[in-house]
């Protein structure tokens, strides 16, 4: 055991270099966010944590409505995730376990939608949002994202495996309709799958940039990513403050990810390889 590990030591050292590259930006972000900008502007640069984090964060709060942006982002991410989980799992259950006429065609149509690049739809989507009076409103982010092809495709695979047909047949004999089969039989069996799809959706919604940038026309109602980008554009030279802002936008998500990382990565790989 020991000796084989020692023989693999060079391998681990190289892998560790890769880990350092992966993790380094987080470390360096903290270094910049905890020092003053003039410390960063120095040669040789300061490589250790400083004590200016609070000051830098206060500067961020002065420059952008940070808490409002954070709250908007959280509302959008939570609402999108809840809707996606419900609509995608319901549709996936339907596709996985019921042989309704047109099922194959409709599912094929759904798969075809993977192919369409997002920017083709952006201008008309924006026009629609303006016409609906939703431009600048958070529902412009939530409603179009409330159900998606990837989630249905992924959940359908999951449900085919995780929900036994015998159980559904038994429920049917007991007189359970579609909704009760979904609620009492399917849902309890697919909780781990929902956990993956939920985290995936939450991360995507939290980090989304292009569409919020376009549709959030009201400068008082932005998401974190858009606010952060504007902060960078307006005060680009004040690295300490910008990095404090970036850190605040990144940390909640990294924490969520680390809590669920193991299962999440395995499921993400499965989704990618099948997709």
């Amino acid at each position: 055991m020991r000796t084989t590990f020692l023989r693999r030591l060079p391998l681990h050292l190289i892998l560790l270099v890769g880990v350092v590259f992966s993790i380094f930006p987080f470390y360096w972000m903290v270094v910049m966010a905890t020092n003053t900008t003039s410390d960063i502007y120095r040669y040789p640069p300061k490589l250790t944590f400083g004590s200016e984090l609070a000051t830098n964060i206060v500067h961020v709060f002065e420059k952008i409505p940070f808490f409002a942006a954070m709250a908007n982002t959280a509302v959008v991410a939570v609402a999108t995730t809840a809707l996606v989980l419900f609509f995608d799992s319901l549709a996936a259950f339907s596709f996985a376990k019921f042989d309704f006429p047109g099922r194959r065609v409709l599912f094929g149509l759904l798969l075809g939608m993977f192919m369409l690049p997002a920017q083709l739809a952006l201008i008309p989507q924006f026009v629609i949002m303006v016409k609906l009076g939703w431009a600048g409103q958070l529902q412009a982010l939530i409603v179009p994202a409330a159900a998606n092809a990837f989630g249905i495709f992924w959940m359908r695979q999951y449900i085919s495996r995780a929900v036994p047909d015998e159980l559904l047949d038994a429920a049917r004999l007991d007189g359970c309709g579609f909704l009760r089969q979904y609620w009492h039989v399917a849902l309890p069996a697919i909780r781990p799958g929902l956990a993956f799809l939920g985290i995936y959706t939450f991360i995507a919604a939290w980090n989304d940039y292009v569409w919020p940038l376009i549709v959030l026309v009201d400068p008082d109602r932005l998401t974190l990513q858009v606010a952060l980008s504007q902060l960078n554009r307006s005060y680009g030279q004040d690295y300490s403050m910008i990095m404090a802002g970036a850190l605040l936008a990144v940390v909640p998500l990294v924490v969520v990810f680390l809590l669920f990382a193991r299962g999440f990565i395995a499921d993400a790989v499965k989704g990618a390889i099948r997709g």
């Binding site: 590990f5 083709l120 179009p144 974190l224 960078n232």
Partner: protein, 306 residues
């Protein structure tokens, strides 16, 4: 697709709950997906600023596009950035995956560490790389200076800008691809490796003779995904070089060295409110992606079968 499981059928059943269950997706997709895509095709034949009357101009937008040197510059930039990020990303990912596959210990820690970049906000990462590549105070130049090399103007030189953007993409996607390759490698039957060992093949030979050919479908998949994503790159360039358009009518940084196709699309559509031309650019981008994905598919397949 798996065979449909046996189902109880009591005569003619009504399936309205099932149709209702799948309807939210199709309604949302119809309104916010399919209709907009068709409408953007219509728009590409018109001149419209989003407010006044739409004016039919036939193929004018596309004619203009073909002659628009800025679009061709954006196309070249996009390809250069794509190449500069995808080649190192996928090569590094393969090597890392092969090492992870024989690491035995700490693999779950490695997987998490290598995956984290992929879930990190692209805006934050782009800002971070902007700071690292900054000419006077950036870490990259500090390092170059420390080892006695001349500092470079990363964020103003056309090539340096592309390197900065490509670095963001490489950092974000190498670990992700490595973990996908790793999953593929773990599915390769171990008797193949044992046979290679019996035949006296070294690790490098095994890697090129067994691992890479066996991974062919997954490599193909990652090449296609990187092509589709890479040719649509936007956020990195927009955050780093999408200058304030009221001060500077152009976008994409000095000399527009980091102007990508989608950034140009965004600029025409949403800074200049030229919806017709924006739609034409979006369709051109779509065409380029489809063409290039097909070419890549062919190339990778042929090379693998040789």
């Amino acid at each position: 697709m798996k065979a449909a499981a046996p189902r109880t059928r009591r005569g003619r059943r009504s399936y309205w709950p099932q149709y209702l269950a799948i309807s939210p997706f199709f309604v949302i997709f119809g309104v916010f997906g399919l209709f907009p895509v068709l409408f953007s095709l219509y728009l590409a034949f018109h001149r419209w600023n989003g407010l006044g009357e739409m004016e039919f101009v036939g193929l004018d937008q596309f004619r203009f596009l073909v002659e628009d040197s800025t679009f061709w510059l954006a196309l070249r930039n996009t390809f250069a950035i794509w190449f500069m990020s995808t080649v190192p990303t996928l090569c590094l990912a393969l090597v890392i995956a092969a090492m992870l596959n024989s690491a035995v210990r700490f693999t779950s820690v490695y997987r998490i560490a290598y995956f984290v970049p992929n879930i990190t906000s692209l805006v934050a990462v782009a800002i971070f790389f902007g700071a690292v590549f900054s000419t006077n105070f950036g870490l990259v130049n500090a390092f170059l200076q420390a080892v006695g090399l001349p500092a470079a103007e990363w964020l103003t030189d056309p090539l340096g800008m592309k390197i900065a953007v490509a670095s963001v993409m490489t950092w974000q996607w190498t670990g992700y691809n490595a973990i996908i390759y790793l999953a593929g490698m773990q599915a390769i039957p171990s008797d193949l490796y044992e046979a290679a060992k019996v035949d006296g093949a070294g690790p490098v030979q095994t890697f090129f003779r067994i691992t890479v050919p066996m991974l062919r479908p997954i490599i193909l998949f990652t090449v296609i995904v990187s092509t589709v994503n890479g040719l649509q790159s936007f956020t990195e360039s927009q955050v780093l070089f999408g200058s304030n358009t009221t001060l500077n009518p152009n976008t994409g940084g000095p000399g527009q060295g980091a102007l990508t196709m989608v950034l140009y699309f965004y600029h025409q559509a949403f800074d200049n409110r030229d919806f017709g031309y924006g739609a034409a650019i979006a369709w051109a981008v779509f065409l380029v992606i489809v063409l290039f994905a097909v070419i890549n598919w062919r190339l990778v397949q042929r090379r693998a079968s040789e």
